[in-house]
Symmetry: C2
Amino acid sequence: MNPQNGYDIEDMAAGMSAEIAKTITEADIVLFAGVSSDVNAIHMDDEYARTTMFGGRIAHGMLTASLLSSVLGNRLPGPGVVYMSQSLRFRAPVRPGDTVHARVTIKEVNVGKCRVVLDTVCTVGDKVVIDGEAVVMPTSREKREAASK
Amino acid sequence: MNPQNGYDIEDMAAGMSAEIAKTITEADIVLFAGVSSDVNAIHMDDEYARTTMFGGRIAHGMLTASLLSSVLGNRLPGPGVVYMSQSLRFRAPVRPGDTVHARVTIKEVNVGKCRVVLDTVCTVGDKVVIDGEAVVMPTSREKREAASK
Protein backbone atom coordinates (compact mmCIF):
# COMPACT_ATOMS: atom_id res chain seq x y z
CA MET A 1 0.00 0.00 0.00
CA ASN A 2 1.12 3.59 -0.58
CA PRO A 3 1.16 6.27 2.16
CA GLN A 4 -2.45 7.28 1.25
CA ASN A 5 -3.70 3.68 1.76
CA GLY A 6 -4.03 3.06 -1.97
CA TYR A 7 -2.80 -0.16 -3.54
CA ASP A 8 0.62 -0.14 -5.19
CA ILE A 9 0.75 -2.10 -8.45
CA GLU A 10 2.96 -4.66 -6.65
CA ASP A 11 -0.03 -5.43 -4.33
CA MET A 12 -2.44 -6.10 -7.19
CA ALA A 13 -3.41 -9.33 -8.99
CA ALA A 14 -6.06 -10.46 -11.47
CA GLY A 15 -9.35 -11.31 -9.76
CA MET A 16 -9.13 -8.73 -6.96
CA SER A 17 -12.36 -6.78 -6.73
CA ALA A 18 -14.01 -3.87 -4.88
CA GLU A 19 -17.46 -2.30 -4.78
CA ILE A 20 -19.36 0.75 -3.64
CA ALA A 21 -23.11 1.23 -3.56
CA LYS A 22 -25.13 4.43 -3.68
CA THR A 23 -28.81 5.24 -3.93
CA ILE A 24 -29.43 7.68 -6.77
CA THR A 25 -31.71 10.34 -5.30
CA GLU A 26 -33.64 13.28 -6.76
CA ALA A 27 -30.95 15.52 -5.25
CA ASP A 28 -28.20 13.69 -7.16
CA ILE A 29 -30.02 14.20 -10.46
CA VAL A 30 -30.64 17.91 -9.84
CA LEU A 31 -27.05 18.53 -8.72
CA PHE A 32 -25.62 16.50 -11.62
CA ALA A 33 -27.72 18.54 -14.05
CA GLY A 34 -26.13 21.71 -12.68
CA VAL A 35 -22.59 20.38 -12.67
CA SER A 36 -22.77 18.82 -16.15
CA SER A 37 -25.11 21.42 -17.68
CA ASP A 38 -27.15 18.43 -18.94
CA VAL A 39 -30.76 19.52 -18.43
CA ASN A 40 -32.27 17.15 -20.99
CA ALA A 41 -36.01 16.68 -20.38
CA ILE A 42 -35.55 12.92 -19.92
CA HIS A 43 -33.83 13.75 -16.61
CA MET A 44 -35.82 16.84 -15.58
CA ASP A 45 -39.42 16.65 -16.88
CA ASP A 46 -41.51 13.75 -15.67
CA GLU A 47 -44.51 14.64 -17.85
CA TYR A 48 -42.32 14.41 -20.97
CA ALA A 49 -40.34 11.41 -19.71
CA ARG A 50 -43.54 9.41 -19.20
CA THR A 51 -44.23 9.68 -22.95
CA THR A 52 -40.87 8.08 -23.87
CA MET A 53 -39.69 4.46 -24.08
CA PHE A 54 -38.39 4.84 -20.50
CA GLY A 55 -41.82 5.60 -19.01
CA GLY A 56 -40.43 8.20 -16.60
CA ARG A 57 -37.39 10.25 -15.68
CA ILE A 58 -34.01 8.50 -15.63
CA ALA A 59 -30.66 9.44 -14.10
CA HIS A 60 -27.90 10.75 -16.35
CA GLY A 61 -25.80 7.78 -17.57
CA MET A 62 -22.64 9.65 -16.61
CA LEU A 63 -23.95 10.09 -13.06
CA THR A 64 -24.10 6.31 -12.69
CA ALA A 65 -20.72 5.99 -14.43
CA SER A 66 -19.20 8.41 -11.93
CA LEU A 67 -19.58 5.72 -9.25
CA LEU A 68 -16.99 3.66 -11.18
CA SER A 69 -14.56 6.53 -10.90
CA SER A 70 -15.32 6.62 -7.18
CA VAL A 71 -14.58 2.95 -6.53
CA LEU A 72 -11.34 3.18 -8.58
CA GLY A 73 -10.20 6.33 -6.80
CA ASN A 74 -11.23 5.39 -3.28
CA ARG A 75 -11.12 1.55 -3.00
CA LEU A 76 -9.16 -0.28 -5.72
CA PRO A 77 -6.52 0.87 -6.50
CA GLY A 78 -7.58 3.85 -4.33
CA PRO A 79 -5.65 7.06 -3.60
CA GLY A 80 -2.70 7.83 -5.81
CA VAL A 81 -4.17 6.13 -8.90
CA VAL A 82 -4.26 7.96 -12.24
CA TYR A 83 -7.24 7.29 -14.52
CA MET A 84 -6.08 6.56 -18.08
CA SER A 85 -9.23 5.45 -19.91
CA GLN A 86 -12.75 4.14 -19.46
CA SER A 87 -15.22 2.53 -21.84
CA LEU A 88 -18.92 2.55 -20.98
CA ARG A 89 -21.89 0.70 -22.48
CA PHE A 90 -25.21 2.03 -21.23
CA ARG A 91 -27.33 -1.11 -20.97
CA ALA A 92 -30.42 -0.10 -18.97
CA PRO A 93 -31.86 3.01 -17.30
CA VAL A 94 -31.36 4.00 -13.65
CA ARG A 95 -34.33 5.68 -11.98
CA PRO A 96 -34.53 8.00 -8.96
CA GLY A 97 -34.50 5.76 -5.86
CA ASP A 98 -32.50 2.94 -7.48
CA THR A 99 -29.44 1.73 -5.57
CA VAL A 100 -26.47 1.27 -7.89
CA HIS A 101 -23.65 -1.14 -7.06
CA ALA A 102 -20.44 -0.20 -8.86
CA ARG A 103 -17.90 -3.04 -8.96
CA VAL A 104 -14.40 -3.19 -10.43
CA THR A 105 -12.46 -6.44 -10.92
CA ILE A 106 -8.82 -6.62 -11.99
CA LYS A 107 -8.32 -8.38 -15.37
CA GLU A 108 -4.66 -7.67 -16.09
CA VAL A 109 -1.67 -6.27 -14.19
CA ASN A 110 1.28 -5.05 -16.27
CA VAL A 111 4.00 -4.08 -13.78
CA GLY A 112 6.47 -3.17 -16.55
CA LYS A 113 4.17 -0.57 -18.08
CA CYS A 114 2.59 0.27 -14.68
CA ARG A 115 -0.92 -0.30 -16.04
CA VAL A 116 -3.88 -2.24 -14.63
CA VAL A 117 -6.98 -3.18 -16.65
CA LEU A 118 -10.24 -3.65 -14.76
CA ASP A 119 -13.73 -4.85 -15.66
CA THR A 120 -16.16 -2.17 -14.49
CA VAL A 121 -19.84 -2.95 -13.95
CA CYS A 122 -22.78 -1.07 -12.45
CA THR A 123 -25.84 -3.07 -11.42
CA VAL A 124 -29.28 -2.32 -9.97
CA GLY A 125 -30.56 -5.50 -8.35
CA ASP A 126 -29.72 -8.28 -10.82
CA LYS A 127 -29.66 -5.97 -13.84
CA VAL A 128 -26.45 -4.68 -15.44
CA VAL A 129 -27.02 -0.98 -16.18
CA ILE A 130 -23.46 -0.13 -17.34
CA ASP A 131 -20.51 -2.30 -18.25
CA GLY A 132 -17.09 -1.54 -19.67
CA GLU A 133 -13.40 -1.48 -18.93
CA ALA A 134 -11.00 0.89 -17.18
CA VAL A 135 -7.25 1.30 -17.54
CA VAL A 136 -5.44 2.93 -14.62
CA MET A 137 -1.87 3.72 -13.58
CA PRO A 138 -1.46 2.81 -9.88
CA THR A 139 1.39 3.93 -7.69
CA SER A 140 4.46 1.67 -7.57
CA ARG A 141 6.35 0.75 -4.41
CA GLU A 142 9.40 -0.05 -6.47
CA LYS A 143 9.43 3.36 -8.16
CA ARG A 144 8.74 5.14 -4.87
CA GLU A 145 11.62 3.35 -3.14
CA ALA A 146 13.93 4.02 -6.09
CA ALA A 147 13.02 7.73 -6.00
CA SER A 148 13.70 8.02 -2.26
CA LYS A 149 17.21 6.55 -2.49
CA MET B 1 -36.12 17.72 -36.11
CA ASN B 2 -38.33 15.92 -33.58
CA PRO B 3 -41.03 17.67 -31.48
CA GLN B 4 -38.43 18.36 -28.69
CA ASN B 5 -36.11 20.16 -31.17
CA GLY B 6 -33.68 17.26 -31.28
CA TYR B 7 -32.23 16.03 -34.57
CA ASP B 8 -33.83 13.02 -36.19
CA ILE B 9 -31.33 10.60 -37.73
CA GLU B 10 -32.63 11.66 -41.16
CA ASP B 11 -31.31 15.20 -40.44
CA MET B 12 -27.79 14.03 -39.59
CA ALA B 13 -24.65 13.67 -41.71
CA ALA B 14 -20.95 13.03 -41.17
CA GLY B 15 -19.08 16.23 -40.33
CA MET B 16 -21.89 17.96 -38.41
CA SER B 17 -20.58 19.26 -35.09
CA ALA B 18 -21.74 20.96 -31.88
CA GLU B 19 -20.06 22.34 -28.77
CA ILE B 20 -20.73 23.54 -25.25
CA ALA B 21 -18.29 25.27 -22.93
CA LYS B 22 -18.30 25.42 -19.15
CA THR B 23 -15.91 26.79 -16.55
CA ILE B 24 -15.15 24.11 -13.94
CA THR B 25 -15.52 25.87 -10.60
CA GLU B 26 -14.78 24.88 -7.01
CA ALA B 27 -18.53 24.42 -6.56
CA ASP B 28 -18.65 21.90 -9.42
CA ILE B 29 -15.90 19.82 -7.83
CA VAL B 30 -17.52 19.83 -4.38
CA LEU B 31 -20.96 18.96 -5.77
CA PHE B 32 -19.54 16.26 -8.05
CA ALA B 33 -17.75 14.72 -5.05
CA GLY B 34 -21.08 14.46 -3.26
CA VAL B 35 -23.00 13.09 -6.23
CA SER B 36 -20.35 10.55 -7.24
CA SER B 37 -19.10 9.76 -3.72
CA ASP B 38 -15.59 10.28 -5.13
CA VAL B 39 -13.78 12.19 -2.39
CA ASN B 40 -10.26 11.22 -3.48
CA ALA B 41 -7.69 13.61 -2.00
CA ILE B 42 -6.47 14.61 -5.47
CA HIS B 43 -9.81 16.45 -5.85
CA MET B 44 -10.36 17.60 -2.26
CA ASP B 45 -7.02 18.20 -0.50
CA ASP B 46 -4.78 20.86 -1.98
CA GLU B 47 -1.93 20.20 0.46
CA TYR B 48 -1.78 16.57 -0.65
CA ALA B 49 -2.43 17.36 -4.32
CA ARG B 50 0.54 19.75 -4.41
CA THR B 51 2.83 16.80 -3.57
CA THR B 52 1.65 14.79 -6.61
CA MET B 53 2.62 14.84 -10.30
CA PHE B 54 -0.33 17.20 -10.87
CA GLY B 55 1.01 19.92 -8.57
CA GLY B 56 -2.44 20.78 -7.21
CA ARG B 57 -6.07 19.70 -7.08
CA ILE B 58 -7.70 18.51 -10.32
CA ALA B 59 -11.33 18.04 -11.33
CA HIS B 60 -12.78 14.53 -11.49
CA GLY B 61 -12.26 13.15 -15.02
CA MET B 62 -15.89 12.06 -15.12
CA LEU B 63 -16.98 15.61 -14.29
CA THR B 64 -15.29 16.82 -17.47
CA ALA B 65 -16.67 13.82 -19.37
CA SER B 66 -20.19 14.72 -18.25
CA LEU B 67 -20.02 17.77 -20.53
CA LEU B 68 -19.91 15.36 -23.50
CA SER B 69 -23.17 13.82 -22.31
CA SER B 70 -24.58 17.35 -22.08
CA VAL B 71 -23.70 18.35 -25.64
CA LEU B 72 -25.07 15.03 -26.98
CA GLY B 73 -28.31 15.33 -25.00
CA ASN B 74 -28.92 19.02 -25.49
CA ARG B 75 -27.34 20.05 -28.85
CA LEU B 76 -26.48 17.21 -31.24
CA PRO B 77 -28.52 15.04 -31.57
CA GLY B 78 -30.28 16.74 -28.62
CA PRO B 79 -33.55 15.78 -26.92
CA GLY B 80 -34.90 12.32 -27.64
CA VAL B 81 -31.45 10.73 -28.14
CA VAL B 82 -30.54 7.52 -26.30
CA TYR B 83 -26.90 7.11 -25.19
CA MET B 84 -25.56 3.68 -26.18
CA SER B 85 -21.84 3.85 -25.39
CA GLN B 86 -18.93 6.17 -24.72
CA SER B 87 -15.16 5.65 -24.67
CA LEU B 88 -12.96 8.12 -22.81
CA ARG B 89 -9.21 8.65 -22.76
CA PHE B 90 -8.10 10.99 -20.00
CA ARG B 91 -5.22 12.88 -21.61
CA ALA B 92 -4.51 15.82 -19.29
CA PRO B 93 -5.79 17.26 -16.01
CA VAL B 94 -8.49 19.94 -15.65
CA ARG B 95 -8.01 22.40 -12.80
CA PRO B 96 -10.51 24.58 -10.91
CA GLY B 97 -11.09 27.68 -13.05
CA ASP B 98 -10.35 25.97 -16.39
CA THR B 99 -12.97 26.44 -19.11
CA VAL B 100 -13.69 23.15 -20.88
CA HIS B 101 -15.00 23.06 -24.46
CA ALA B 102 -16.83 19.80 -25.17
CA ARG B 103 -17.27 19.15 -28.89
CA VAL B 104 -18.94 16.28 -30.72
CA THR B 105 -18.55 15.63 -34.47
CA ILE B 106 -20.51 13.05 -36.44
CA LYS B 107 -18.32 10.30 -37.95
CA GLU B 108 -20.90 7.81 -39.21
CA VAL B 109 -24.66 7.74 -39.66
CA ASN B 110 -26.30 4.31 -40.00
CA VAL B 111 -29.99 4.93 -40.73
CA GLY B 112 -30.78 1.21 -41.06
CA LYS B 113 -29.54 0.42 -37.54
CA CYS B 114 -30.55 3.88 -36.24
CA ARG B 115 -27.08 4.50 -34.82
CA VAL B 116 -24.77 7.52 -35.06
CA VAL B 117 -21.05 7.45 -34.12
CA LEU B 118 -19.46 10.72 -32.98
CA ASP B 119 -15.95 11.84 -32.16
CA THR B 120 -16.04 13.40 -28.69
CA VAL B 121 -13.33 15.76 -27.50
CA CYS B 122 -12.89 18.03 -24.48
CA THR B 123 -10.29 20.78 -24.68
CA VAL B 124 -8.90 23.47 -22.36
CA GLY B 125 -7.32 26.14 -24.54
CA ASP B 126 -5.36 24.24 -27.19
CA LYS B 127 -4.93 21.13 -25.04
CA VAL B 128 -7.02 17.98 -25.48
CA VAL B 129 -7.97 16.81 -21.99
CA ILE B 130 -10.33 13.96 -23.00
CA ASP B 131 -10.94 12.27 -26.31
CA GLY B 132 -13.03 9.28 -27.33
CA GLU B 133 -16.08 8.15 -29.23
CA ALA B 134 -19.82 8.02 -28.55
CA VAL B 135 -22.52 5.85 -30.10
CA VAL B 136 -26.09 7.14 -29.83
CA MET B 137 -29.55 6.18 -31.06
CA PRO B 138 -31.32 9.35 -32.28
CA THR B 139 -35.04 9.64 -32.96
CA SER B 140 -36.21 8.78 -36.48
CA ARG B 141 -38.77 10.81 -38.45
CA GLU B 142 -39.52 7.78 -40.58
CA LYS B 143 -40.28 5.59 -37.56
CA ARG B 144 -42.33 8.35 -35.91
CA GLU B 145 -44.42 8.86 -39.02
CA ALA B 146 -44.88 5.11 -39.46
CA ALA B 147 -46.02 4.78 -35.85
CA SER B 148 -48.55 7.61 -36.17
CA LYS B 149 -50.29 6.09 -39.23
